[in-house]
């Protein structure tokens, strides 16, 4: 059977790739620590000898357009380009065989997941964390499976659904004849308000509450949150974290970093099955 060997969740803001403005030394130093936390995820991934990285990310009207905007989509192509702000920075192999197995298995489990065999590029919700994780991983043998969840354009896939999705993914992998060692990553958050007049706020109290629940393994409690609360606290992307955590079903969760500058609550969490 395939095995989920570990997981993590972390931010995907383009700022984490490269700062677009001047900042003070404290900010720059904390950003370096944040990037190092993502690289530590990569080093952990290597220690666990993972060969597939399943990434739950949120489309930002970049891969999809309002002409066709799915709630869930798994990428089943051979490989893909990864961009930041539309500028391509890397090309990665895709684990299309396992992606196909997930697609068929999830539809059988009554998840109406779409698929894509071709894509022009994936942008920062996938690229930013994968870029830093791979820096820590240090090898190119790893294959990726991008899995899109609509957490950013209302109406959106519920957190309860994300929780059940993670459980279904785990069930399908455990029933697989493949020998893959899968590492699961959720990307986004925590509190931030991009593209809105609320930008510049961070709901640290909400972030800390979420972190406490993660540390206690109360993933199903987090799955009860609705989008009014999530939007009000800038935690609209939490569904990707829930899907990843639910897939891992962690026996323990370690917070590698929480940092709350003026525009974003940044957190990196590590899930151990």
């Amino acid at each position: 059977m395939a095995k989920i060997v570990g997981g993590a969740a972390g931010p995907h803001s383009p700022v984490v790739y490269k700062l677009p403005w001047e900042e003070n030394q404290d900010y720059v130093s904390s950003m370096e620590k944040l990037r190092n936390a993502l690289m530590e995820v990569g080093r952990n991934l290597r220690r666990l000898e993972a060969d597939t990285l399943l990434v739950f990310g949120a489309d930002h009207v970049q891969t999809f357009w309002f002409g066709c905007f799915p709630q869930m989509m798994v990428y089943t192509g051979y490989e893909a380009d990864y961009s930041i702000n539309g500028r391509k920075i890397m090309r990665l192999k895709n684990d299309y065989e396992l992606a196909e197995e997930l697609l068929f298995g999830l539809v059988e489990e009554e998840f109406d997941v779409g698929f894509m065999q071709e894509v022009e590029f994936f942008d920062h919700p996938f690229t930013v964390p994968v870029y830093w994780v791979l820096k820590g991983f240090g090898e190119e043998s790893l294959k990726v499976i991008p899995f899109q969840l609509n957490t950013n354009v209302h109406p959106r896939v519920s957190l309860r659904r994300c929780y059940k999705l993670g459980q279904a993914v785990r069930k399908i992998l455990e029933g697989s004849k493949r020998k893959n060692r899968v590492f699961v990553l959720g990307t986004g958050g925590l509190s931030h308000y991009p593209g809105t007049p609320y930008y510049g706020n961070v709901d640290e109290e909400a972030d800390k509450w979420i972190i406490k629940k993660l540390e206690r393994g109360e993933i199903s409690r987090l799955a009860e949150l609705d989008y009014e609360w999530l939007d009000a606290t800038g935690n609209h992307e939490l569904g990707t974290w829930i899907a990843a955590a639910s897939a891992v079903n962690p026996a323990s969760t370690e917070i590698l970093m929480y940092w709350r500058p003026w525009n974003n609550g940044y957190c990196v969490a590590s899930f151990t099955p």
């Binding site: 383009p14 700022v15 677009p20 403005w21 001047e22 900042e23 930002h60 009207v61 970049q62 357009w65 309002f66 702000n85 539309g86 022009e120 950013n152 354009v153 209302h154 109406p155 959106r156 308000y193 991009p194 593209g195 809105t196 007049p197 609320y198 930008y199 510049g200 706020n201 709901d203 109290e205 909400a206 509450w209 009860e224 949150l225 989008y227 009014e228 609360w229 939007d231 009000a232 606290t233 800038g234 609209h236 003026w262 525009n263």
Partner: protein
């Protein structure tokens, strides 16, 4: 309670489409930089929508119903116009967030 990352109003589909293509298509982006009027005309924007795009005012765009990720794409990602710490208040960002209650443990 408020939904912030809302459904895109159909009436803005032309402006939304412009933002999507300006972000992801370098050729459209370059043409837009050189001659925004011509590109907005191609996408069928109304005169009011053209004025809104040319205002580069993300807060006004949001208040008139433009989807946040189109604003994000059109201003920030395509052209690098990120509001810095100093610009946030000056440009009208940092608005008080909707009221929420912390869940019970």
């Amino acid at each position: 309670m408020t939904i912030i990352f809302r459904y895109p109003p159909l009436k803005h589909i032309r402006l939304h489409k412009l933002g999507y293509h300006v972000f992801r298509d370098p050729a459209v982006r370059e043409r837009f930089k050189k001659d925004p009027e011509a590109v907005m005309e191609e996408f069928g924007l109304t005169e009011e929508e053209k004025r809104l795009v040319l205002s580069r005012d993300g807060v006004k765009m949001y208040d008139l119903g433009i989807q946040p990720y189109i604003i994000f794409a059109l201003l920030w990602q395509a052209f690098g116009e990120w509001p810095s710490r100093e610009q946030v208040a000056k440009l009208g960002y940092g608005r008080e967030t909707p009221y929420r209650e912390m869940p019970q443990d």
